[in-house]
Symmetry: C2
DNA sequence: GTCTATATGTGGATAGAC
DNA sequence: GTCTATCCACATATAGAC
């Protein structure tokens, strides 16, 4: 089944479930604005203007700027987790790891705007909303830890420090959201490079 | 010479050169505040209050909040570059890489507050100030690229994609600033783990 | 060099018409 | 559901006394 989800890696995120269209324009405008300037530096006027509306119209669709961030963060976290789970396929822990790192890395490059919001705006969430996305973050981490753990169990992977190596593998992909711009190469190639580097980190 | 700079890795940053003491209290207060909340969410009142002063007193020592950020960013970037250069020692490219990754990673953990400001607040700098720190950033990148390049030249390291691997190695250490807190283990041990992982990435 | 007081701008959010 | 107009809080920065 390896490679079956390649289309999911490179296809744009789908927002049709956000209705009506005005709410969707606000959401996508907010993603761009938050990714460019950060949550705190983004004004509701900026978001509304990107959606072609007056500032007041925003509050018909969202009760606050933070709620807009939360919707983005929750959806983005879930999308990242889905990509990772869909990529967890292969005949060995090593193959599964390659596939997951490839997909997770490519997702962070392809969707670097929403990924930036997901990874760098956690501090702007309310405690309740942060707790909700933290649950998804733990599932993401557990997904990587499981495959490494499976590799240790069957002796096919060499992992001295399981939590430390889990974090390092995740970290490599996540940091893509910080530095990636389209001129730095295409997401698929980056995914393949990082899959190779990650496998080398843990090979026996 | 390996290990000679261990004290530099774990010693606190030295701020004696910032005079008078009030200016230094403002600077260290700003580092803590920027690291906790981000530049945009930090108020001059918060910074002044951490330094035990009224908001107005800040402007005797710094002309703006941005200037305070710039001083922190410039000094932090230079400190990170110095750590990397001091660690560039060893008899082979592999040893030099290990030493550099160990020191650079441990620095980002030990000094995660200033490292967070250095790595995540670039967008808040004026274009002129950003250009100045970007020069230091290029030197940091060049330092890693050089050792990988030397390893390729003498056949001791296996690097398929030199710019991509350079970025990946740097990225792993830099991302430590995002997630590190003291309860996640000690900086020296993390440095050793990451040195091992980086070496595995490029070993023949 | 530090204070109190304040000028000036701006941002999140609301009121009420259409 | 969108608009114009605006409230109100707060933030950067300055003025002027001590």
């Amino acid at each position: 089944m390896h490679g079956v989800n390649v289309s999911a890696i490179t296809s744009p995120l789908v927002w049709e479930h956000v209705q009506p269209a005005a709410a969707r324009r606000l959401l996508t405008g907010a993603i761009d604005a938050f990714a460019e300037r950060g949550f705190q530096a983004t004004t509701t006027r900026d978001i509304a203007s990107r959606a072609g509306m007056s500032p007041a119209a925003l509050y018909v669709h969202y009760p606050s700027k933070e709620r807009l961030l939360f919707e983005i963060s929750r959806y983005g976290h879930q999308a990242a987790l889905d990509v990772l789970r869909d990529a967890d396929s292969g005949d060995s822990p090593a193959e599964r790891l390659r596939s997951m790192v490839e997909a997770f890395t490519a997702w962070h490059a392809e969707h670097h705007t929403i990924a930036r919001v997901v990874q760098y705006e956690l501090a702007a969430l309310t405690p309740e909303h942060l707790a909700e996305v933290a649950t998804i973050r733990r599932a993401i981490s557990a997904q990587i830890e499981q495959v490494l753990s499976d590799g240790v169990a069957d002796g096919s992977l060499a992992v001295d420090d399981l939590p430390g190596t889990t974090l390092a593998v995740l970290s490599l992909s996540i940091d893509v959201a910080r530095w990636y711009t389209p001129h730095r190469g295409d997401p698929a190639a980056l995914g393949k490079l990082y899959a190779e580097l990650a496998q080398r980190m843990v090979q026996t």
